[in-house]
């Protein structure tokens, strides 16, 4: 019954027009970035290279698919959570708003079963979005710009990674980014359990992301103790995979922190959903 319910949830996600807003927006943004980089990518790169012109000479295909993919990820990773929340925030409260929750909960499947089938469908949707980004950012970029070593400007200097050392980093970065996006999906589904309309949880999720991002960005020592507990802090951990040496401890800490927060939110959501009076 659980798998049938999950299949139902996927059908609903596929049929909803709002599910394509994310895919459409990502496609459009990446297309614009690719177009802009194709037209004027070297000027963009010269901002980096001119800093080292006197000490280094750059050879080969510097403006390559790996660099463009990295740029795309940096630009998109802030906005994807909003697109995810648009769908996942509606998964439970949307049923309440439509009134279909009454039919759903009078079927021979437990509330826990319904909750987890919706959650799994939300996770699958998030995965599809991420795979689509990966395909466009890495696949199409490499097709358009070719391949080559990755050159990244970090605060500590210029990091250059060899072509054969890059793919696993992207895969791992996508892995930890997925965990961050699952955190967003869990947050919005949890909020969805407390609401009877679909807009509330979506807006609230976005507000929390914005608030936490601002708190994380504020360079005030009072907030130093708070920052490690904000999920937004750990969502940028994907960047750590493009460092040498790899900050393994920091990556593990971030992954554990995200997993714990996901588990905590799931517990709250499940508790609420199982005890909720359906009044819609």
């Amino acid at each position: 019954m659980f798998w049938k319910s999950t299949y139902n949830e996927l059908i609903k996600i596929i049929a909803k027009p709002r599910s394509y807003i994310g895919l459409g927006a990502i496609t459009l943004i990446i297309a614009i970035i690719l177009f802009a980089m194709r037209l004027d990518g070297m000027t963009y790169l010269s901002f980096i290279t001119q800093l080292f012109d006197q000490s280094l000479s750059f050879q080969g295909n510097i403006l390559n698919g790996n660099l463009v993919a990295f740029i795309i990820l940096q630009m998109l990773i802030v906005h994807i959570p909003l697109l995810i929340a648009l769908v996942t925030g509606d998964l439970i409260s949307g049923e309440g708003a439509m009134g279909t929750i009454r039919l759903l909960l009078t079927k021979p499947i437990s509330r826990t079963g319904i909750f987890f089938s919706k959650y799994l469908a939300g996770c699958i949707y998030t995965f599809v979005i991420l795979v689509w980004i990966g395909f466009l950012a890495l696949g199409v970029s490499k097709f358009v710009f070719g391949t080559g070593d990755l050159m990244i400007l970090k605060s500590e200097g210029l990091v250059i990674m060899q072509e054969q050392d890059i793919f696993w980093r992207f895969l791992s970065a996508f892995g930890i980014a997925y965990l961050g996006l699952i955190m967003i999906a869990t947050l919005s589904i949890t909020l969805s359990c407390f609401s009877e309309n679909s807009i509330g949880p979506i807006v609230l999720t976005m507000a929390i992301i914005i608030l936490f991002t601002i708190i994380g960005a504020l360079d005030v020592s009072v907030l130093d103790n708070v920052r490690p507990f904000l999920f937004t802090t750990h969502m940028s951990t994907w960047n750590s995979f493009f460092e040498n040496p790899l900050p393994t401890e920091q990556i593990i800490r971030s992954a554990v922190s995200l997993l714990l927060q996901i588990a905590g939110l799931l517990g709250i959501a499940l508790y609420k959903f199982n005890r909720k009076d359906i009044l819609s």
Partner: protein
């Protein structure tokens, strides 16, 4: 039709409070196998709250509910695979077609369905030809039909219909009523039918429960409960005063309810109507019409107003 003593629904002293608001104070009733139970009450009496509690959509503050002799929370899967229901209006996924909606709910019935079951049930509720249409364009009547289709798709033993004719036009009401009658007569389903429409209950139900202000007022067989009451009969006559004095000599003047220009309302038993009519005719009073008011309507209003 025979009715069993097997209890399909058993509600005992059901109480539901929302903070200080007491939605249900003491609701108790039973539905037996084969029953069509009319669940009556004015707006805000607690009908929908009771039905939601029966279907585990809300958690009662206290009281006991048993479906098929089992606890609906503990034996959720067993019980809900045997139930089909509409709670208030049947809401569906408007962005999907009728067929897709049915497929979605059919997958969750817990019953292996025949391959052509969905087209069979679409045909049964009269939606053939519209199954591929998205629900955005469906009228209320069509959604109600689809609601009934969703209810019946897994051939449940118990059907719970909460206000199934709300928002329908007269033709829609008639269609839904005929569908319910078909379920009762041809398929011998146990049905709990909540409705505002007393005529509907009078025509369909064999037993009824009336609740008001969250409490059960009465329950029993429709025939038994209504036979306790005399009829309200309206005579349209040409000479009311003469009729009145005649009835006084006949000894039933105390049963006058109202008199207006041409109508005389009497509360008398069914068997007295021919005698009163004969009395008028024998004394040259023209009788233009004799109408009996609906028994249930009167019974219901009396009970509620008391």
């Amino acid at each position: 039709m025979t009715f069993s003593s097997e209890k399909i629904i058993e509600v005992k002293h059901l109480v539901k409070h929302y903070g200080k608001f007491k939605a249900l104070e003491d609701v108790s009733f039973e539905v037996y196998k084969g029953d069509v139970l009319g669940f009556l009450g004015p707006n805000g009496a607690g009908k929908s709250t009771t039905i939601r509690a029966i279907l585990s959509l809300i958690k009662p503050t206290s009281g006991e509910i048993k479906l098929f002799g089992k606890d609906p929370v503990k034996d959720h899967k067993y019980i809900f695979s045997r139930i089909g229901c509409i709670v208030e209006k049947p809401d569906f996924y408007l962005y999907l077609s009728a067929q897709k909606n049915l497929e979605i709910f059919a997958r969750l019935t817990g019953v292996e369905l025949k391959k052509n079951r969905i087209s069979e049930i679409i045909d049964f509720v009269g939606l053939k030809g519209r199954e591929k249409d998205k629900l955005k364009g469906f009228s209320n009547g069509m959604k109600q039909r689809l609601g009934i289709a969703q209810t019946l798709i897994h051939d449940p033993e118990l059907i719970i219909l909460d206000e199934p004719t709300t928002g329908l036009d007269p033709q829609g009401i008639l269609d839904i009523r005929n569908l319910i009658l078909q379920l009762k007569n041809e398929y011998n389903k146990t049905i709990l039918l909540s409705s505002h429409l007393l005529s509907e209950i009078e025509l369909i139900a064999n037993r009824m429960v009336i609740i008001n202000k969250g409490k059960t007022l009465v329950q029993g067989s429709v025939a038994d409960l209504l036979n306790e009451q005399e009829l309200i009969v309206s005579f349209t006559l040409n000479d009311i005063e003469k009729a009145r004095s005649l009835l006084a000599t006949f000894g039933i003047e105390k049963q006058f309810i109202t008199i207006n220009q041409n109508n005389l309302l009497l509360q008398i038993s069914n068997d007295k109507i021919p005698a009163v009519n004969k009395l008028f005719c024998d004394n040259a009073i023209k009788v233009f019409s004799i109408e009996t008011k609906r028994k249930l309507e009167d019974y219901f209003l009396k009970l509620i107003n008391n």
